[in-house]
């Protein structure tokens, strides 16, 4: 237990020590109390910002910690979402359906990212090609799902739905309890928390250290006797599953999914969250994901067509003035002042 706490408080993410954790739990209490002040509709909207965080975590892990930029993590977001829709949709009325859907979604993510990772990491291709390959992969998936309109694209009793996507995807449920509104908000919050602590443990563990070594110098790490290709593959699979978790939460939230979730605009988003917040920090990614999602949601719901332009501008400003991310650099400044 002591050991785990030390790992959580390790130095591989910003934010350590009593002061930080006091602030952390204060903010957390606010998050837990938040639904008591707002309507179920608002809580559900806020849950949308939370549900994207795992995908941000995934990119943070593979890009920030392992040094591999994936521009196609939305592929796993989409795959998990569709898999859940197909499984839970076919088992409609069965209370185990949603749970099996979740497991199915994660199994699909694991298999597909495993195959993709195997070919990418074991083929010794040059590193700069990887973002392009990941992007191409997700665009291919998008194209595939767009053409799945019509009755021939039916899996059991679920229609894939082509461009318009899959609808009537069931809520998540345990027993007879369905997660929607307030309960869905708490469900997302708990998942984000568990993942956050889990990832802090992971990056501060031996495994995390080796992954950081791979980022810093692949050959040096390999020449210490580590199977770096295997480790890169495993890290890629973990991060793909994190994106998958976001995809699962997304379909459980909105009850639909369209191929555009795997499109180029969506693909850019997690990269932006990580770049703006700071790709070396899960805390920073939480901040950035919530704020940027809130920003683009608010801008576009006010009929502002330039939401994406504004977010893009923010990205450019970050890259020029805060190359390691706004949140991370502010944090470091604060630590220096103290």
């Amino acid at each position: 237990m002591k050991h785990l706490l030390n790992l959580i408080d390790g130095d591989k993410d910003i934010g350590r020590g009593n002061k930080f954790w006091a602030g952390f739990f204060l903010v957390l209490i606010c998050f837990f109390l938040y639904p008591t002040f707002v309507s179920s509709f608002r809580a559900s909207n806020t849950a949308f910002y939370l549900l994207n965080i795992p995908m941000g975590f995934g990119l943070c892990l593979i890009w920030g910690y392992c040094g591999i930029l994936s521009f196609g993590h939305v592929a796993y977001y989409g795959l998990a979402g569709y898999a859940y829709g197909i499984i839970a949709g076919n088992l409609l009325g069965n209370s185990w359906g949603p749970i099996l859907g979740v497991l199915g979604g994660l199994v699909v993510c694991t298999i597909i990212s495993g195959i993709f990772g195997y070919f990418v990491f074991y083929s010794r291709i040059q590193k700069w090609i990887i973002p392009i390959l990941t992007l191409v992969f997700t665009l291919l998936l998008e194209t595939f799902f767009v053409q799945t309109s019509g009755y021939q694209w039916r899996v059991g009793r679920v229609l894939l739905g082509g461009f318009n996507g899959m609808t009537n995807i069931p809520f998540f449920q345990i027993g007879t309890f369905e997660f929607e509104g307030y309960s869905f908000y708490y469900y997302c919050l708990v998942i984000v928390l568990v993942l956050f602590f889990g990832l802090r443990i992971l990056v501060n563990s031996k495994f995390g250290q080796i992954v950081i070594g791979i980022r810093e110098d692949e050959l040096r790490t390999e020449m210490l006797g580590y199977d770096i290709r295997f480790l890169q593959c495993v890290t890629f699979i973990i991060s793909a599953n994190l994106a998958g978790i976001s995809g699962l939460l997304y379909v459980q939230w909105g009850n639909y999914i369209t191929p555009s979730q795997m499109g180029i605009l969506q693909a850019a988003l997690p990269v932006i969250w990580c770049a703006v917040g700071g790709r070396n920090s899960f805390i920073a990614v939480i901040f950035a994901t919530i704020v940027l999602n809130w920003l683009s949601f608010t801008l576009s719901s006010q009929g502002n067509q330039y939401a994406l332009v504004i977010i893009g501008t923010l990205l450019v400003i970050t890259m020029v003035f805060f190359p390691r991310g706004i949140v991370v650099m502010i944090f470091e400044k604060m630590q220096k002042i103290r």
């Binding site: 250290q209 810093e216 040096r220 020449m223």
Partner: protein, 246 residues
């Protein structure tokens, strides 16, 4: 003194190893064989193929032909990390400690315990390097803040942290002052005295004479001559290749 009993066993060897880069012959029919517990020095002019030989031993480069044996195991087809796991440690010619990480992290990443046997003695060697090279007290410092000699010591210690049986050091004292070089030599000798097999590429003849049991001279990819420090340094031919007179 159990290591003396197997000290005449060959721990690493090559048989007719060949490697070309385009038209450049980097290794030509290299038959190297090093005994357990030996302190071997590889010398030779620039471009002689010393670093390439290390790369071939570790599997970073694949040989065009020939055979490599580590601890009596044919490893020619093994991947680099698999060879390392047999008990190899490599210090690169250009220092490759993880620059942006702390000394502590550098060492804990390296702590792979590749060698299953003899953990106690391996731990002893690691502790010896840690204290002699004064790395313990500066754990929080980033590698890139270290002066060059400390960086070299750090990478040597990192390798010992992985518990190897054989260490390959490519110019470990490059960039060091005379005293630092001598000191490094003395620490390496103490490590060697614990039974660790050491192969060093070095240009500094004083250092080589000081530490080596045996010297191998490489020239244009070939083993040009082999012998004790005295034999090699008195050889007219060796002087010639160093002065470019052949």
């Amino acid at each position: 003194m159990s290591m003396l009993t197997d000290s005449n066993q060959i721990i690493i060897s090559t048989h007719n190893l060949n490697k070309k880069f385009g038209g450049i012959v980097a290794a030509k029919d290299v038959n190297l064989s090093v005994n357990t517990g030996e302190f071997r020095c590889l010398i030779g002019p620039n471009g002689a193929g010393k670093s390439t030989l290390f790369s071939l031993l570790c599997g970073i480069e694949r040989a065009d032909s020939g055979e490599i044996r580590i601890l009596n195991k044919e490893v020619t087809k093994l991947k680099p990390f698999q060879r390392i796991k047999l008990g190899l440690g490599l210090k690169f010619q250009t220092n490759r400690a993880f620059q942006s990480l702390s000394i502590k992290d550098n060492l804990s990443i390296s702590n792979n315990k590749i060698q299953v046997m003899d953990n106690e003695i391996a731990e002893e060697r690691y502790q010896l390097a840690l204290s002699e090279f004064k790395l313990k007290s500066e754990g929080a410092k980033l590698a890139r803040e270290l002066p060059h000699n400390m960086l070299q010591w750090l990478e040597i210690t990192m390798i010992l942290a992985s518990f190897p049986k054989i260490v390959l050091l490519d110019e470990p004292t490059a960039g060091m002052s005379v005293e630092e070089t001598l000191f490094t030599g003395s620490v390496l000798k103490r490590l060697n005295a614990t039974g660790l097999t050491i192969i060093v590429v070095e240009h500094d003849m004083q250092f080589v004479k000081d530490v080596a049991n045996k010297i191998t001279v490489l020239h244009e990819g070939e083993i040009f001559s082999e012998g004790t420090a005295e034999e090699v340094s008195n050889s007219e031919e060796v002087k010639n290749i160093y002065l470019g007179r052949d």
